[in-house]
Symmetry: D2
């Protein structure tokens, strides 16, 4: 067995950070060195989260152990991680950032979308967009990986393949996400009694993942997110027109045929087929030029922590599936 | 207090029929005379369904009491109710049919959609399409009312208003329904473990409600249904282009302003706002010519049994809200 | 039709108060005059709660209209309603209080249980414990009714009947409640992601409903509440020993046989049989002297708002079932 | 890395068998050789179950590959596996049986409980009861392991520890299980609409797990199971009296202190703390001699497939945690 790499996690109180913790704690090739959380500072992980029987204490983001890590996952709110990430990069630590800060090639789009000034345009130039199956080569040597948005991943994986094969236009992504996508919240809007037996749309015409999808596809798209009464999972129903539908269909079927985590399926995929796994499954139907893709992921795994760990596996030359589930539980 | 009308329900074992039973049993102006079910024949209603403390015994569709009713609700599979409905109409009994048999003006469309020969084209001519707020005048004197489909109702109420105001094109209805829409089933595909924490699309390009919506709107539309892990409720996200978006927006806001059951809302409506009520709530957002309507109903009430009882209220000159909930529970 | 009585609701932002509002707004014999909420002060009810299409504005508890009501429902935290209730009683307004303040005959038990000084021992003497089926005669003329606790109602209805028939000992009530029992909360402990697919016990040996049950049964009991991942409903599994099990069984079967809302059932009752109704259903099994009762109610209806309205119906001589559902939806 | 052992799974269509398949397919020290299912015979696993991307075809129980396995998991209905298990044992294959056939030392109790004649009393003598933490030494060399019942495991782990420390009497186990405990079913009683937002008791005084618990504890106990509207997980609330409560408390706290999968917790454990893991967590509260234990497991993992794989790990000298999750997802 090789020497394990040392891993730090910054912002492990949030759902994505906590899922990174869960995956890393059980990963055969890593050693969890340090986890930070302002909210849980000083507590033992297993005391704060009985579901996570880890003996480490939460420290804060100034913990010097972070700079001794081989890789640090940062899961902080927009712009909050900028100076830390800069210091880590300077110290030679590779960083996988789960915020949106480094996802955009075009900084103006980022600033308009998030209503902030970009904290580190210099780092943005270093960053590789961590959509694993599409950018694998660049990820291998990246010092800073920007982990893609959850909705974004569900739409991009099939649609990048289709767009390479023929001209695709009029894209509408009608997406539905489980509640964990909203993060850990003490908010009546996310209370059990508000969301159980309920369903709603939100962010109509205004959600921040629309510009991210648009930039990566190179075309304006329409995106409507909805909130499902489930904990985990995203299903995106993507409507579009294809100049050459047969080419689009063929690309969708074959583009990822050798990938362990991405697969085309003849039958329509369901969220339960991928929940608790790092997989993306999709299918397509065509009627003339009109196409519909149904794509599913687990928002916290392939849509966040799982893809982040997959990026780590790529960056460190591990088997890409190490520590990542591909079989979904009942 | 007026003399109560006598009501019969045929097919009260199914979810829609059982909900009609529940509403009628508690309606201030009706007397429940007879309920039929082949599956529950001879059992007392309260024995078959502990949730429904009704002392009647289930009889079958040949029960002579049916012809002594003022109105009979028929909730049978496609074509199965044809001869009975004919006999009831002949006997002067008014009928509200919850199947799809009499919903289509164009019989060829019906036959193509359901893969059957229309059992009674003669009755089809008599039938009034029971979309209450739109066809109220005709419903008043109808002898046979065809109760609209559940998905259909959620889409038609807003879109008929918009289409009257301006040219609307490119309609895509992405709809999501609770599981009760599938009916009472002993089927692993509808088991708790299959559907809990799950979500899926089905009937892509092929669902039978698409032709019903298309006929009533007078244009071809694209419709994709999905299955929500909730018991009741539909949310339809309807994408379209409007020649005159201001006119469309205005029509959506004002068309139903005096209606007790239908309302435009500035904030986005959620399924929980209308579940367990007979209401339809919708809202709209526009970006240039592109419009999005979010519309919600309870599939078993405004989408089935509630609208059926509303039709009865109209037919018999009752207050239209009699016996129909408009306040949603927590 | 008689002149309708005027009703006020104090604390209509909470779940129990909002459910009273929903019931009263649709009750055939009441006129809703005033609703108060500090949290929603000045907002129209329908703006604060799109599910409740009521045109009234929320006022505060000093609203002079309250004293012009025939009856006021108070749903405030412990002790917070004391001075208002005193003023209302002085003004001749009858009050139905949903807090625990006036539920105990023994004030010392109340004070020990809730860790407060009783605000109005004088009013406590006036109060009638509003367990409708048991105290109906006293409720008729009561000026102040103390509405029973939710868990308490599910246990007392069967166990009072059994205890009247024979000596019952060793009572253990293992109860399970839906989340709405905890009230409207912005608290991560009640968030969707915390409670979905989860289940837990709480308040072991310490829950405040234990002394309420004990006082009414005249014996010490053991009570363990649990939190179900559903919105509404309580199921209590009550273990006990009966000196004369046949007498206990007979009493359970017959005690409420003429009651519209309470019934013994041979098959085991389920929460869905009574959710969204004002019913209590229970069944019993015996093995020698050992007995087990399974009892179900809707915690917000028979366990709170429904029983409160039933109390109002009794107090004003209305049909006891007026405005109260007895059929459960699918 | 050692040579992997060859594993067969008989009855992989059921939930427990499918979970064994999922665990084994991702276990670092096993090679999945053969999976059988009458219902899915001839289908590729990944076609029958899109959630399980396994390329094997389902064969039937006569598949000769079974006898070439190092270990076979049998997950068949009561008595159905008897002749196969006999043949496997004769062929030197070690067997982990998930049915109840070999769980009882006393065959008469088994026969009375399951209403059958024991198919193989000879094999019953060989069988070791696979409660890992209690019978580890015997399991190491066992040829046939009888995997314990799910409810049983949640009760036995804490109560065996308590019973060793002092006299425990009057045990009542009030247990609540997720729906997967009932197995894969096409049955309206287990449909989504029947169970969502519902909760019920069943098998009062008659459930088959009561005699299993009683035999292992050496005393008669009272057991009431309930059905939770969740997919996975069991919480047992166990009431009892302890001669020496301090001794009981101490034993509960320390008995498993070095175990990776079993832990005492000061705060009350919840199902979500252990769902999707192989852990059992419990806590206890005492009031005089009266004690209450709250114990949680995942019914499909520590209660079935996970404990089965843990047994395999013990039998083959693997690290006992190999391939078994101990961190619970959000």
């Amino acid at each position: 067995m090789n020497k394990k790499i040392k891993v730090g996690i910054v912002g492990a109180n949030g759902y994505a950070g906590a899922e990174v913790l869960r995956l890393i704690a059980q990963h055969p090739l890593t050693e969890l060195s340090v986890v930070t959380s302002r909210a849980q500072l000083g507590k033992k992980v297993s005391s704060a989260f009985p579901a996570l029987p880890c003996d480490l204490d939460f420290s804060d983001a100034s913990d010097p152990l972070l700079k001794k890590c081989d890789v640090v996952f940062t899961a902080l709110p927009q712009t909050a991680g900028a100076s830390l990430i800069g210091e880590l990069i300077d110290a030679g630590v590779r960083v996988i950032d789960l915020s949106a800060d480094y996802r955009f090639t075009d900084i103006a789009t980022y600033e308009r979308t998030y209503g902030v000034t970009h904290p580190r345009p210099d780092l943005n130039k270093l960053a590789v967009y961590g959509l694993c199956e599409v950018n694998r080569q660049k990820i291998k040597s990246a010092q800073l990986v920007a982990n893609p948005g959850c909705y974004v991943t569900s739409v991009l994986l099939p649609m990048i393949a289709a767009c390479k094969a023929t001209k695709i236009s009029g894209i509408i992504a009608d997406s539905k996400s489980g509640v964990s996508g909203a993060g850990r919240k003490a908010d009546e809007a996310y209370s059990y009694c508000t969301l159980d037996e309920n369903f709603k749309a939100y962010g109509v015409f205004t959600h921040r993942h629309a510009p991210e999808i648009s930039e990566k596809l190179g075309q304006s798209i329409l995106f409507t997110p909805h909130l499902l009464p489930i904990k985990r999972g995203i299903l995106s129903t993507v409507y579009f027109e294809a100049d050459d539908p047969a080419a689009a269909q063929n690309a969708l079927k074959t583009a990822y045929k050798d990938e362990p985590f991405v697969s085309y399926t003849d039958t329509l995929p369901e969220i339960a087929h991928v929940a608790h796994t790092n997989r993306c499954m999709f299918s397509a139907r065509f009627d003339g030029n009109r196409g519909i893709v149904i794509s599913v992921i687990d928002n916290l795994l392939k849509g966040a922590a799982g893809q982040a760990v997959q990026n780590m596996n790529i960056m460190f030359g591990f088997d890409e599936t190490s520590g990542l589930p591909i079989y979904a539980p009942i």
